[in-house]
Subunit: 221 residues, 8 copies
């Protein structure tokens, strides 16, 4: 279980090659992706617009496979057929509502790319506490929990009060009015009396990668 120090890219900033599409010109984006998949054999992009997808499709060489994960607003390019090698570790992902699912799916994609098993329970925040209890039962083998929630962002604290594993809160930019862009959720998670760690609003990528690092923990030895 020893950490390694490494100055190379794949350790430095998230493990798979992951490109943040948002904010990049579609053509420049497509070229970066193709260069990455050539160099690394596999490459993921998140927060895609339809324009990014079109630019990628228009330039895709025959020997590169492209998998579009619509629910995650993501795409995976690969040159080979071999699946991601499992590294052990299970990540549980819950959402409070249905609007939180795209962020949760982005987290799932990254955790799976990092070789973890992922179990999910979506839209368990508004239904009665019984539904949350039964959802949690299926997630028991998890090493770590990701809980995504918008508006007041309460669900992560409730989950953290029920399990003894680390819980990562992801504030989601649903809601309207005062601090309705995810800020209320972020604030309430940071102030929570439960033990929670937090990532940026809508940051499915960071939550997934951090959770995978936690989940690897016990399997490395």
């Amino acid at each position: 279980g020893m950490a390694r120090i490494d100055a190379g890219r794949s350790v430095r900033c998230g493990m798979p090659e992951v490109v943040l599409a948002e904010g990049k010109e579609p053509e420049a984006f497509a070229e970066i992706m193709l260069a990455q998949v050539k160099a690394a054999g596999r490459c993921v992009a998140t927060r895609l617009s339809p324009e990014h997808l079109d630019a990628l499709r228009a330039r895709l060489p025959p020997d590169v496979r492209m998998e579009h994960r619509e629910a995650a607003r993501a795409v995976i390019l690969s040159t080979g057929d071999e699946p991601v090698p499992p590294r052990g570790g299970t990540v549980a992902i819950l959402t409070a509502g249905t609007s939180d699912i795209p962020v949760a799916e982005e987290a799932r994609l990254i955790a799976e790319e990092m070789g973890c098993e992922v179990r999910t329970a979506y839209d368990v925040g508004v239904a009665g506490i019984h539904r949350l209890f039964s959802a949690l039962k299926d997630l028991i083998p998890a090493d770590v929990f990701i809980v995504a929630a918008g508006r007041e962002g309460t669900l992560p604290a409730i989950v953290a009060g029920l399990v003894d594993r680390p819980v990562i809160g992801v504030p989601v930019s649903t809601g309207y009015g005062y601090m309705g862009g995810g800020e209320a959720a972020l604030a309430s998670m940071l102030q929570s009396c439960s033990v929670l760690a937090v990532v940026n609003i809508d940051a499915g990528f960071t939550a997934g990668a951090f959770a995978a690092q936690v989940a690897h923990g016990g399997r490395r030895e």
Copy 2:
């Protein structure tokens, strides 16, 4: 490595009994502490003022032991002599500067109370990168890293770029001027392109408890 669902208090809100002294009347605080130590055998308080300490001292019964951890602004009450039973897992704690040490010490106290080994490297942010490298070498066996930093709060991202274990950033309320109460550090950690999870400004307690939950991971099986 299975998670447990539990609705009892010691799971719900941090594992040891930990009382936040700040914001409580000293007398009420002292009574809460004594009630807790009677019930649980051991009890910790954080963010103590001298008045809290005085109130505790004035009411301390002969059969309760009190340990004052000045650097952590904390106190431990206990009725027995047995040390905290080790649960395995190692937590590394780094600080960027000397002003971040009280927050780091609070994190350390909680992680130790939860049975983890803790290794520290303080004030490694301003010195050259070589000092950080050599500090990291001593911390290699850690399962998880806590990095506390004020002002621009860069150190956690740098550490996360060098190790492959989870890194928890703790923004510290040092600094002055624009967003100088820890907000700049919080914002830069949340926006970091490195993979980081974050806790509230100055939240040594949360960082320590969350890190211990991570560190327990591999040892539970």
Copy 3:
């Protein structure tokens, strides 16, 4: 159950004469209080400092009774002995922690001055959900609930999810770090998916007076 339109003072700005001590010079404050009690027979002051109390004591005429409600940081002056006439209606007041009690006590004082019965359950937020359930059982006859909570301010939403009467959330300025002055609690109450109405941070007076207006409702006919 008909509302009355009235342009007189006792309707316009809260029903008993209530003076906000904070921000007033102690001497000026004392004179205002004595003028009010002379005119109205009874008068309340909230958010008192020791200086306000001293100034009042120094000027108190023999025929004015003064009752100091320390836990509520309030004082009641009266010229007669008759208690507040009951108007019917029951208000339940809960707090998440012990730091929220002064705000809750201020709400209680006002609701009682307005002729309501008040039942309280303090510090029920952190203890297990079972304690909250049993606390709620004692409060069942209430017409309306006031729930005061600091930090992430979750308790009001939980209570609103369990009872079918109106629930008023009062954010409290406990907590530290990011939005730790009650703003996180305010934001999470406003964003809550539960049905809640909210008052200003620490506004025990407004919560108590509003709740009394609700509680009067069914009894007026």
Copy 4:
């Protein structure tokens, strides 16, 4: 007039089944709605875009009735013909200007769905105080008042100064410039020296549901 504790959904988060359309994919939204109306016989959606409406229309089975409340940006689905059973209680709704009407209409719809009688007086803020007085006369039998206002948000406090029933302020996101998205109105309602409770900016749903809970009060016995 006793409160009931209930962990089921219809108590927990507003009484009728109400779906917040905003932030949901139109197709997913339509499916949720149809599932709900099947299960509960009646179902409401708020904050609809034209796309949500189209998706609903395209999937509407012949045995489900759809009522579009354009002014409220809402829709009601039902499988039967029976109207909402009256539960007693009257809610008065006022707006300061014409831009506040959609929010007021959303509140009205929810209060009516919860079995209350609703009386309205719109655009009474800018006209002289005489128009407000005569408008209030028609609303006298109300158990509770909802007052929606944008820009500086003064009207709720004025109404609260004139009637002795509870007044709920709803800040509306009209206005421009500094805090022109409803924040100035929210702030001035929270700081008001009149006795007011407040809901989120534009939160017609919450205001209507809370008011209905208040209005039920006296009729339950």
Copy 5:
């Protein structure tokens, strides 16, 4: 009634010599004041602490007269006995509460130093509208109105709705909780549907000087 362009100091930054004491070392402050009174014959200081006053007293030469205006937290130094020459124009100053009086008194002092007649009506915000009406009657000859108010800051808009002369709103930093340092009052004045101009929070000096400029208008011809 023609404006004059002038690059000299007495036009550039307020007309009398006015020194802002706050933020200056007491000794440096006293020396600045004495230099100014020597040069100009008359000199005002605002926002004084007791330390500033002491430093001034300790250095006061026998030929300089010092007038302490405690309610305005101000002091006037002069070398001669002649009063301020009247320039015509009347300024009305109202406050909503008693806490707003120091700011109003600062405005009054400046307007009087600029040769205007000043009429005041303090604490007319909370009492019934009748008291405001009768207060306004005494102020009718005014050329311009200054209205100081804290908390929700509504009074200036009400006054502007009743008179046809210019109304200047002064937000005051009384209040607590959300935007309780005068920000709510500032925001509601800026968003007001009445015609208002506004100055900085607590800026009695600016309000007084601006009002005097307005009041001079009709008298200059």
Copy 6:
């Protein structure tokens, strides 16, 4: 020069009938306008979108004259031909840049509707100080100055340092980046050491109406 108290609409909230188009449904807007012009003979609308204009055009009866002031984003409806009767008083309006002109033109329109003469000098902020001086010379007879400026909003303070008449600053929402929506300009005007009164960001209407009230002053007697 005596002020009049009046509870009627034309005094209460700006003098001509002025409708704020923004935030109103185009059809509802057109109907309000036509009702107003019928009742008052003349009526102005500000902050128009092309949709508002189209709706108005489509419904315009033959006996109503419509004047579109494009530069001011405004429209004037009238039933007669008589021009606005002059009431005396001159308002000077300056802008720092060309982007501030629409706001300035809105102010001009209102001041003219209130019977004032208006003189303008636009885009005098960036050119050398000599251009500002010569522009000011032409504006000398003004009773009051309106100065509109975006970005850092410095021009109003410079003008206030050069003339002895009241200067009203209007922050404009040009600029980008940090506080680039007019907030930096608002803040710098409020903090100005020059004597300035301020209105909301982009609030040409308020600036124009307030300035006209000032300009009327000397002419009323």
Copy 7:
């Protein structure tokens, strides 16, 4: 190396004639540009939309040359053929990611227009520190460094820790979530323990012009 005082335009607000297109009507913009190029022989516009470009193209006289710098969102008009005369001095420009390039290109254009040599190294923030080192080697002769970075904005501080010349940080509005519009980057640069000066978010123009002023320094003698 002596500074010159000059009140003329070309010194006052940046040296070449530079027009900020954003916020100007396309037609008005085109006319301003053509007037400037007539008067000065050369003229630059920044932050262009396609509409600005079209308006310019439609009005371009045959004797005016137009150079479109797409990557910089800028355009250069000139009447002659002579290139910008070199004034000596070298400016280095780095970016953390590819999204920061438009801002960097705007800075480059201005610095070149002011007669400086410019060297660039783009997208060196995420790759390993080795790539930054080798990039810096090529930039060694620079007199001053501009470093543009979004999200957490760390790169400027890292560069400032490695070189002994002045480093100017430019926060860029990439990123999402909490303070994701460049505010986190701005805050972290202002709080940096490295020696940095900062310009507004996305302010390539200011960075380029300031850097050219620094670079001229040593060459003026």
Copy 8:
């Protein structure tokens, strides 16, 4: 004039050894200072409280010289007598008011420690433009200008409009009310249409060190 890359401490974070006293325990602070002066021969501390000074005095060994710069809230320790070797370059420092002088003096101390000549002109913001002109004449040989200003922070932009050398704005935390802690000054400097670079509020150290780096420029060759 070539830049050097260096990973050692004296390049990384400002050139002299400078310790930020604020936020450090006095005893710990004193020990750090003594260690530094032993190692480096010379050492500076800024933002000292009287307690820091006392702790230093109590521990000062006979062979260490201590120079207290009260106006700069700073102290210099040295073991030898040799003065700072001049490196060429002149820095001009201006302040708008007298409250800005401590920040300006901190900047001066650092620039002098880095071997620059410093010329100052304090309190030139409020006096007429003529005084600023004559002050600037004495500062003409400067390579770079530092301008410190609180409240609206206008002076840096005015200076930048008059000289052709780089101007660094330092916002100062004087002022009260809205954004009165230096934020208004910061915002107006960042939004300035003049060419300015900016440092953190009150950051005299950063301004001085950055200016010295600029001033060294032309002298290095």
